[in-house]
Amino acid sequence: MQAAIRTRELTKDYAVGFWRKRPYRALDRLSIEVAPGDIFGFLGPNGAGKTTTLKLLMQLIFATSGEAEILGCPAGDLGVRRRIGYLPEHPYFYDHLTAEELLDYYGRLFGMPAADRRRRAGAMLDRLGIAAERRLPLRKFSKGMLQRVGLAQALLNEPEVIFLDEPMSGLDPLGRRDVRNLILELRDQGRTVFFSSHILSDAETLCSRVAMVVKGRLAAQGTLGELQAFDVRGWELIVAGAGEAIESRLRGRARRVTRIEGERYAVELSPEAHPESILAELTAAGASLVSINPLRATLEDLFVRRVAEIGDGARPEGQHAGR
């Protein structure tokens, strides 16, 4: 099956410095593949190279080396641009236009007939909850509203692949929920969504696959399950009615026993412990199970660990590039 998005050894160096220019590697041999219909989370801390990657895919900047393909065509192909949508980070549009006029302008650039432009612009403004402000100049829009306009223009042409650079940024909790629902809706329509974020919970609630970049390098890639399966750190049992003897009973076998309230306790077990046998033992002693959860590393943990592993190692190598 043809990938919706593919990059091979994609690299970007910038020349920095005023007098003595030296190369600075913003992205280092990035190879990723996104299957059609996926919600792909592109994660990393600020300055990791997420926006650089998106700009390379949009051909707003040009690669030093490597390749980028969208829907089997080179990124930047004019035909492909008819089939994609893009929301930049902190989008800015023309102050002098209204939301409706902006979408009409972009619709013209797609070569859409007037009736289609009106229909799609109306539908998008409705869907994003800014229909009432359609005739308001964009200079009067709040940051959150501009983000919604940005999403409306990204979806105007009913794209097959949608690129969203930090789509939740600037949104209140309600707005974040709306965007999450929108992304899931797009997935249900069979579209591919590639979104960058430094907010890992967004990825955890949305993504089928993720890639993580740290300091310009790919640090991890896979399904959330694949990334987290290696990182189950133990089990947490919440039990009630176990009595005060629980601590002495589990001494040496539980990592930690914490009294939550009254006779309710949280028992943390190591990954090697057998929660079933401990649970049976506690039940026999009169305790009842409230909940049991595997303790997995969150993306947050993974993120912090990769940053620590990669440390400052990524950039200096890149800084030799081009010499």
């Binding site: 641009r81 236009l97 013209r108 650039l109 797609f110």
Partner: protein, 268 residues
């Protein structure tokens, strides 16, 4: 190039909404005020002075628009990052440059046309009631159609200056672009003199530099036929034709160069 056409219409709309045409108001006030004042001070020279003033003001006001709007149309898109969503659409970077340029040409055309109408209007009121024998003594009639020739060439000159502004703004900052464009405009008024530089200077380096400037920089003085028109001297159709052709070639070269530079630019 349907995308370029859409960009051109949007650029024109931006000029209108940014109140670029407010300068017309100032132009009208200047022209009417001057005609009232000059009518009182001079005897028989007022029509000539108003023609000269009107044409000079058309040129000057147009120059401000050509330089400042010409620079800001592209650099504003880049600085404010509105170019990001735009270039993700099926729009070539060349379409963007050509579209912006055409948009500004429409703005300038409207501007110059309104100024021409205002100038003819003032001249009409000024000549009204002047006896026929006095009018016959004038170098040229008040409502001389030759004024349109001068205005047409002013427009071509403004189109060249706009192309220069857009060329510089495709790779440098707005401030530097303004300085460079103004520099080219000023030197452009004297380019023809550079060709005869070897008559007054013998240093080879200086002569070579003057020759290089002569061939590279636009000869803007050839678009200035104000004095001839005001004094009723004929400007041949051949001269107008070659001047327009010269301007068109120069513009094509600059727009091509601007879009070539812009097409390779990284938007960091």
């Amino acid at each position: 190039m349907p995308a370029a056409r859409s960009v051109a219409v949007a650029a024109f709309r931006e000029s209108v909404r940014d109140k670029v045409f407010y300068n017309l108001l100032l132009f009208a006030v200047l022209l009417i005020g001057a005609s009232l004042l000059i009518g009182q001070l001079t005897a028989g020279q007022d029509v000539k002075i108003i023609k000269d003033l009107g044409l000079s003001a058309t040129s000057l006001f147009g120059l401000f628009i050509a330089i400042f709007v010409g620079i800001s149309l592209v650099s504003k898109e880049v600085d404010k990052r509105s170019v990001y969503p735009l270039l993700a659409k099926p729009v070539r970077r060349t379409d963007l440059i050509v579209g912006k340029y055409l948009g500004l040409l429409i703005t300038l055309a409207v501007n110059v046309a309104v100024m021409a109408v205002a100038l003819y209007g003032v001249l009409f009121f000024l000549s009204r009631g002047v006896p026929a024998n006095v009018q016959q003594a004038w170098d040229a009639p008040a409502l001389d159609p030759a004024l349109l020739t001068a205005i047409l060439l002013i427009y071509v000159e403004l189109a060249v200056v706009t192309a220069v502004a857009m060329f510089f703004s495709s790779f440098s900052s707005p401030m530097l672009s303004a300085i460079f464009t103004l520099g080219v405009y000023v030197i452009g008024q004297f380019t023809a003199d550079l060709n005869g530089f070897d008559q007054i200077v013998h240093a080879r380096g200086a002569i070579a530099l003057a020759k290089a400037c002569y061939y590279v920089l636009p000869d803007l003085s050839r678009f200035d036929v104000k004095i001839a028109v005001v004094h009723g001297q004929a400007v041949s159709a051949a001269y107008v034709g070659t001047s327009i052709a010269y301007g068109a070639i120069y513009i094509a070269a600059l727009v091509l160069a601007a879009s070539a530079i812009f097409s390779r630019r990284d938007f960091k």
